[in-house]
């Protein structure tokens, strides 16, 4: 142990290396990555998001959806994410170019949402589910987000964006309706925009067995 000075130097410089490897390197590579042009439509992979969906990301962040819902499909031989139907392929860096912030998540208290827009494209379903999750899935432990909705008296014609088919204890009384706030609309637009139904060369779809 007379090599302590050497140890000292080696360790501190390697310590600085984590800065290079885990911060500078992704900054320079992943941070400069570009979307792939989509020959079909002249668009890009991943597709750009509507303004409403971008606003929805902020609602997603403000209400902490990420603490129960991950947004990543892990690689296939190691995990069963693809077999579980979370998405058709492993998600890779390019999939997250449009995300701000990136909601990779660390918990699956609720299901993964990587591909929720493809699994469940129905707006009304999402509104119903956010308003009262247990009426859609009775064993769900998702909290209700009723505070993103407004119960109001129907004035003349029912509103076009009122939620259809509410049945639970918080369903509107006759003559009343539940309409989503701007935040709720943005959140649902964001959820529906979550699709991984486009190909990326760096993440081939595994052969179906």
């Amino acid at each position: 142990m007379n090599k302590l000075p050497l140890l000292f130097l080696g360790v501190f410089i390697t310590f600085a290396s984590s800065w290079l490897g885990l911060v500078a390197y992704p900054y320079l590579t992943l941070g400069n990555m570009q979307p792939l042009p989509d020959e079909d439509t002249g668009g890009y992979f991943p597709p750009s998001q509507s303004g409403l969906a971008v606003a929805g990301q902020r609602v997603y962040a403000a209400n902490g959806c990420v603490y129960c819902h991950s947004q990543q499909v892990r690689l296939a031989p190691l995990s069963t994410d693809i077999a579980k139907g979370l998405g058709p392929r492993q998600t890779v860096a390019r999939d997250y170019l449009r995300a701000q912030p990136v909601f990779l998540g660390t918990m699956r208290t609720g299901p993964d949402l990587t591909n929720i827009g493809a699994r469940q494209p129905d707006q009304n379903w999402h509104h119903k589910h956010l308003y009262e999750p247990q009426t859609v899935t009775d064993w769900s432990i998702m909290p209700s987000f009723r505070y993103l909705y407004k119960m109001q008296k129907i004035q003349g014609q029912p509103s076009a964006d009122a939620i259809q088919g509410l049945a639970g204890p918080h369903a509107p009384a006759p003559g009343f309706e539940v309409v989503p706030s701007d935040d709720a609309k943005a959140l649902v637009a964001y959820l529906i925009s979550l699709k991984r139904n486009y190909p990326l060369p760096e993440s081939p779809e595994p052969p179906a067995n």
Binding site: L4, P5, F8, L9, F12, I13, F15, A16, W19, L20, V23, A24, Y27, L28, G31
Partner: protein, 60 residues
């Protein structure tokens, strides 16, 4: 973007620089010699080796 590069390069220079400076100082100052002595520096004259310095309060 430029701010980012400055941050990265600045961070690296800062890190490596402080590493080298700390290393230079530690060697010069003899911090890496006489290690057994260092393990005794926490004991003072009236709290010497062999004396316990904490106890549950006696008032029950």
């Amino acid at each position: 973007m430029i701010a980012g590069y400055l941050l990265l390069i600045g961070g690296l220079i800062f890190l490596s620089g402080s590493a080298l400076a700390a290393f230079y100082w530690a060697v010069k100052d003899g911090q890496l010699e006489n290690l057994p002595e260092a393990s005794l520096v926490i004991f003072d004259d009236d709290e010497p080796v062999g004396t316990a310095t904490d106890r549950f309060p006696s008032s029950q």
